[in-house]
Each structure stands twice: as structure tokens, then as C-alpha cells.
Symmetry: C2
Subunit: 341 residues, 2 copies
């Protein structure tokens, strides 16, 4: 069998990663043992959390050290199986990493039904980003009909789903995104009530005030930083803020502080709360989330947009693009052919 490829971290990035922080390596094709399957990767999901994994800073899971293969969720196809329940040709989702091929145990894989939804959605609206949106919004923020919900990185993999679920929940939805194209997308294609272009607005607070004149009941925060500070000045009584990402700080150097206004007085006066969220805590409830989300996708109530680049070698550039906000929709790398398209 031909050689496989993988991408390893060549060195820890300083600030924004560079393509040369990564290295493509040929490797021998792995062989599955009992309970395992050999997979070829079709789609690699590229997500902001990956910056944290290569930072060398202790976080919620072990990071990637120089020389390690980069981690990542993927959709792939079974090539050879020694696991009951998996046969060649099956489509699966799992933690395959930045690889062309990989051997994984069956228990870390989720089998996909290509007739139910495009297989790429298992990395997006019907995968980790979709489940992040679903549980962080509905469980943590508990939006009520009539609430104003603001979401940052609104055109991203998580943000676009957050806004659409909030619309289903009867809320007024304001997206914050970078650039006119993304703003038009969330407003005109996804049905958000308003969009604020944080790159174009000189006075973000005034723009937000115009878009959310009654104040902010729920803030779904994917970015942190100054956008967070601005939204916090406009929260209402009993506001709920969920922190799902802090992309604005991901390229800070170790030890470089993340300094801003303390929000304590504002939280007290408004009896508001800020809560951190990691989707892994909801793994046991994925079946509920996936079922509802799949129904909404099928009914056309949840739309999604993907931003696909071709070839494993493009993964570093794709990650850099995500960190710079250049992607437009869920960022995917097509590593191998998708026979369902």
C-alpha cells in the first residue's frame, strides 16, 4: 500500500503561527489490530481551539509538543477493519488528526449515515461546533423568547449555528463579524436581525447600541478581548454570558497578560453571570443535540456554510486563516476525495 502523510508541529509558534511551524512527513501506512480500523481522512476540521493545543500552556487537555502529529477532528472512510460494526466504505467521524490515514479504535469513532446529511456536517453543524452552539446557548444561556442574543465570530462554525438556534427560540439576534460580506451573510442568508461589522465600525459600542437598542440579554462570546468589553457595557438585568472561545487572545505570548475592565460591579448590579463552557462536558448528551439539529437542518431551519480548501498540506494556512478571521464559514480541509459529493 502507498505511503501515508501526516503533519507534525515543527516548533512552537511565537504569536501568530507561520506555515513553517509545521512540517509534512511521509509515514508508513499503519495497520489495524483487533478492535481497530484503518481510515482514510476525507475532511479535516480546522478550529480556533487548535492554537491553544500548540501553545505549550497547560489547559484542559494535553497539548501538542514539537514532533507530535497535530490533533483535529475529521470525517473519514473505513479502508480496512478489524472492529465489529465497521466495514470498508463506512463513513465515520473521530479524532484522526492532521493525517491522510490513521488507525483508530472503533470506540472513538462515530458512524455516519451519508443519506441523513452530507458527511462534512459531522465536523460542523452536526459535530463539535454545532453541539457547542446547541448546549452553550440552550443550556448555559437559557434564552427566553424576546431576549436579545448577541454572538461574536457570528459567521464562524459556532456563531452561525448559535444565531439560528436563537432565532428558533424566538430571540432577537445580533451577530458581530468582521467584514461586510460576513455581515450580509448572517443577516440575509441566516436570518439574523442585525449584524455589526467590528472591523468597519469606528465606535463599536454605538453600532451595537443601534443593533440591540434594548440591551443585551445573552452574549455568546467566541472572542473575548475588546469586543467582550464593549458588549458587557450593554448587558441587561439577569444577562447571561457564555465564554466559548477567546480567539482574540490565542496568539498572545506566554505571560502576556489579557488585561481589561473588571466586570464585577456590572455583574453585581445586573445580577448577571459569565460562565465558561467546554463541549466535552456534554458528550453524554450529544444524541439529543444531534437529533434536534439534524431535524432543523433537514427542515431548512438551520443553514450552514463551509469554507473548504483542498489538500492536507493546506492545513497550516487554513488554521492561520481561521485565527485571522479570514475563513467564511466552517473551515475544512479536504484531505481525500468525498465519494458522496
Amino acid at each position: 500500500m502507498s505511503e501515508a502523510k501526516q503533519i507534525v508541529l515543527a516548533q512552537r509558534p511565537q504569536g501568530m503561527p507561520k506555515p513553517t511551524d509545521f512540517r509534512v512527513e511521509p509515514v508508513a501506512m499503519p495497520k489495524p489490530e483487533h478492535g481497530q480500523a484503518l481510515l482514510r481522512v476525507i475532511y479535516l476540521s480546522v478550529d480556533p481551539y487548535m492554537r491553544g493545543r500548540i501553545s505549550g500552556v497547560a489547559s484542559y487537555v494535553k497539548g501538542v509538543d514539537p514532533g507530535d502529529v497535530m490533533v483535529g477532528g475529521c470525517v473519514g472512510q473505513v479502508v480496512e477493519s478489524k472492529a465489529p460494526g465497521l466495514k470498508p466504505g463506512d463513513f465515520v467521524e473521530g479524532p484522526m488528526g492532521w493525517r491522510s490515514h490513521v488507525v483508530l479504535p472503533a470506540h472513538v469513532l462515530r458512524k455516519l449515515d451519508p443519506a441523513a446529511a452530507p458527511i462534512s456536517t459531522a465536523n460542523g453543524v452536526l459535530g463539535m461546533p454545532g453541539m457547542t452552539a446547541y448546549f452553550a446557548l440552550l443550556d448555559v444561556c437559557q434564552p427566553r423568547a424576546g431576549d436579545t442574543v448577541v454572538v461574536s465570530a457570528a459567521a464562524g462554525a459556532v456563531g452561525q449555528v448559535v444565531g439560528q438556534i436563537a432565532k428558533i427560540a424566538g430571540c432577537r439576534v445580533v451577530g458581530i463579524a468582521g467584514g461586510a460580506r460576513k455581515c450580509a451573510f448572517v443577516r440575509d442568508e441566516l436570518g439574523f436581525d442585525a449584524a455589526v461589522d467590528y472591523k468597519a465600525e469606528k465606535d463599536l459600542g454605538a453600532a451595537l447600541k443601534a443593533a440591540a437598542p434594548n440591551g443585551v440579554d445573552v452574549y455568546f462570546d467566541n472572542v473575548g478581548g475588546e469586543i467582550h468589553d464593549t458588549v458587557m457595557t450593554q448587558i441587561r438585568l439577569n444577562a447571561r454570558i457564555v465564554v466559548c472561545g477567546t480567539i482574540s487572545t490565542y496568539n498572545n505570548k506566554p505571560g502576556e497578560g489579557d488585561i481589561g475592565p473588571r466586570q464585577l460591579r456590572r455583574l453585581l448590579v445586573n445580577r448577571a453571570r459569565i460562565q465558561g463552557f467546554l463541549v466535552f462536558d456534554y458528550l453524554h448528551r450529544y444524541p439529543e443535540g444531534l437529533q434536534r439539529m439534524a431535524a432543523w437542518v433537514k427542515e431548512g431551519r438551520i443553514k450552514y456554510r463551509e469554507d473548504i480548501v483542498e489538500g492536507l498540506e493546506k492545513a497550516p494556512e487554513a488554521l492561520i486563516g481561521v485565527l485571522e478571521g479570514k475563513n467564511f464559514g466552517k473551515m475544512l480541509v479536504r484531505v481525500g476525495a468525498d465519494p458522496t459529493r
Copy 2:
């Protein structure tokens, strides 16, 4: 009948209030109308929130403008009543303000049973501070047996109750207080497991680490500022932080920022939350809280310490003392004789 006295705000304080920001005024003795009672004030409760009321900054209730009588919760005695259910000699708690005498409608007064507990406790452990401790700790922080609970301003009216309830709930309790005397008090008299003297410790983080080696599950924050920042560096998974006061910032000038480390990344990684609290939201549940707290006081499981100064004229100094952390226990001004002691 002889004249009454009141204290009005003479001018808005700049930074720490001065005694000359207040003015004692003689006033004619007021007369009750139907549904009202004339009260003589016995104890005036002096609390940190009062600094916010005189700041001129919009907050959760209307503030005190120059010329207005200072607000405050008090324990008093009925002198003359035109309200059913109240008769001369009855003890009541209510928003009497910085006055020797006041007429109030009966519906804002809570009748006290001097046989059940000393009447002064209606301003403390069996009043607003006690209810703040009870609901903010048990409802918002939801301490579990085995949790480490840290409370700042630990020797204050709220803090001393927080720590003792947390002990009843089976937690390890660490108090942060200013000065060896307060630390010894919460440790030796109230039964906290450890106390950290933030004024004496050069490295507050190291001292907290020694007192709470497993990290912080619950932080009951009465102060904000740098103590908040330090505690936040030691929170554990699913930590719950309640913001009940931000006394460290109360003397900031209007527009003066409250700047510090943003806690967003830490909240995300730990799936932790920070929530603001105001006890008024729990007024409908006071009967539950007062009943349980009264039982604990009677059983000797909740102790309390009062810091009483004599004479209405001392109220400004008492408030300044509270803001400087000079009080040692619940700060009260004895405005009139307490016939029960």
C-alpha cells in the same frame, strides 16, 4: 414632643468620604397618619453598599443626592401607631435611614420578637447581611461537602456568616481578612479552617495556596480588585464565584476604571462561573432564610460579632471605618437606648 435629628448628605464625596460630607440637622418630630407608625431608631446598620448610594453613579436603586437624608436599614421601636398590628413598644426593622425618629408605613416594617433573638441581629445575622450570606452562598454557589470555600472581608457582617454556613455545609473554609485580630477571630472563634491576612502577606497567592492547597471551589467575593484577581488564579474545575460586593472600588472616582486581568480564558478552561448577586431578589424567600438562620443562631452553630458605636452623629465615621476595613464585625450605630439589653 422634643425635636428629632437626621443626617443628610452635604456634598458628594470625592474618593473616600469625609465626615464633612455629611451634616446633622434638627427636624420637627414627624406625626404618623393612617397606616403609619412613628418610630424611634435604636440601631442603624452601617454597610459598604452605602458608598454606592452617595456616588451619583446610576446603580440598582436611586441614590442619595446632596440634601437628602442618608438611607439605611435600622432597628427601632414604635412610639405612636396609627397602623393595625403595631403598638407602642413594638420592635421593628425597616429602612429608617440616618435619623433619630421617622414615620414609616407599616408595610415596610418587619416586626421583631425580642425573645427570639437580640433585636440588633435584625440588622445583621438575621437581617440583610445574613440573608445575603445565606442565599448567595447556598443558592448561587451551591457548595458541596468537601468543597473549599474562600470568602473575602471574612470578619465583616456578611463574611462571618458565609464561612459559618459553609462549615455547616461540610466545606473547608478559608477567610481573607485584614489584620491578625480579624484572622484569629474567624479561625478561633468562628471555626474557619484557615485565615489569610491580606494586609500582612507579601505574597497573597502563596498564602492562599497554603491555606487552600487543593484550589478554590467557591469564592464568595465581597471586595473585588486584586484580591479577586489572586483568588481567580487558584480556582478549580466548575468553580463558582459570587460577586456580592466590590468594596475595593467603592471609592474610585467616577470614570476611574477598574482594570485587571480578564478572567475569560480561566472561566472557559475551568467551566467556572462568576455571578452577580443582590439580596433584594430574594426578599420573597426571607422567611425560609430567617427561619433557618434563627435556628442555627439559637443552636450556637452561627455566632456573630457586632461593632457598636454610640450616637447618630458617629454614623459618618462609622461608614468611613467600614470602607477602610476598620470595623470588626457587623457595624452598628446605637442611635437610641436598647431596652432589651
